[in-house]
Symmetry: C2
Subunit: 260 residues, 2 copies
Amino acid sequence: MDKKIILLTNDDGIEAKGLSTLYNILKKDKKFDIRVVAPDKESSAVGHAITVFDPISVRKKYKNGVFFGYAVDGTPADCVKLAIKAILDKTPDLLISGINRGANLGDNIIYSGTVSAATEGTVYDVSSIAVSVDNLKDLDYSYAAKFTNKIANLILDNGGLPKGTILNINIPDVLEDNIKGVKITCQSDAKFKDIFIKRVDPRGRDYYWMDGEFAKVSGSKNGDYSAIKDNYISVTPIHYDMTDYKAIKYFKKWKIDKKI
Amino acid sequence: MDKKIILLTNDDGIEAKGLSTLYNILKKDKKFDIRVVAPDKESSAVGHAITVFDPISVRKKYKNGVFFGYAVDGTPADCVKLAIKAILDKTPDLLISGINRGANLGDNIIYSGTVSAATEGTVYDVSSIAVSVDNLKDLDYSYAAKFTNKIANLILDNGGLPKGTILNINIPDVLEDNIKGVKITCQSDAKFKDIFIKRVDPRGRDYYWMDGEFAKVSGSKNGDYSAIKDNYISVTPIHYDMTDYKAIKYFKKWKIDKKI
């Protein structure tokens, strides 16, 4: 039987340690055919951007003389589109985006290149997950990679994810022994508090630097943010149907017509 | 009583006709205090990108010697963040993103700068709508602008939108008389069929151009795509909670633990 194909991508770039650790762990047990198509440089906070006005260059990337994958001069979503529609000879059985340096939780996932790559896989009906570690330093990703390997096996043994569902997985920044367990969560209402630092350039023109920190968390105890803070691994099923179904009835009552 | 403040932004850029037509119509009846903070250039398909590693410059923009608004060297989401947190003296009562050249329907809204700007407003609890016309030419936006003015009044008369709900409005590309009415819709499963055109540069390296067209539409008859094809104005309530609530029960049954 052919090996299952796993496509790896990320938003930290093809050189990122989180990606290579995951690659090595998945390669190790020789069950999977691993392909890498990732941005040639870091592209965090790009959201679900795609490149439509510029050409996208693709180069083969070697590590220690061995072919590692394709480096794409584009966004994470570009990588997934290109991988599935142009680079790979077969559609992958699973897409893993990560392992990302830094958590993707709460409202923040709308800015996440990591999550957008997984979303893009789902657009093509490929089972897709995003994996992040709650640490902005390049720590040891081995536990996270092994846990991801386990999840990959679980998904493929179950015949893939339900159509349209993406798993957004976050792993707390503690030693393995201190991880309390795994929670199936919802996206919490955790917001960044944005801070803009205003500067004036030498020609007298205004410019701003954006900075921020998690500030306001509300909503369900079953949220992703609470799970991570309590040292649980958070697994959030998400989808890209943004329809607010509960609101449809409300707006029908407005009886909007075309008259102006 | 103070006038209600409406913040206008878009992803076609501060020079776009859709934006200026809307500005003029809203200005006309003098009920609102209109502010414009928009990208200094076109930034379609940027998704929900924000600028975190670079400074963002902001310049005042004049039209015929009169102050028009702020031109931001950033994404639509940057514009909204900056407007609310740094540029405006007061939080706007309503944010309108548009009027966009080209529809934002189905799966496509995940790539949309227009929709992401409206989403960003909602992150700050500002009632926000995205408005697009199903035409890629710079046609006459007057009907769309007048309809948007009516919706703006409706929203403000109702005390704003429900917390977290965004309205994604699309207007069909037909004369006013041929518009059949207004439908409250859901996000349809309308996918782009991506086409990549492969080229080789003079140095022998591969690059790709992305192209595409709407191809696969399935799902509900109440979808935004069907409404537009049938010449109805489509009003879709959306939100940025991506949680797939129906899937939570399913994954709990997997009984995932932390063991590796």
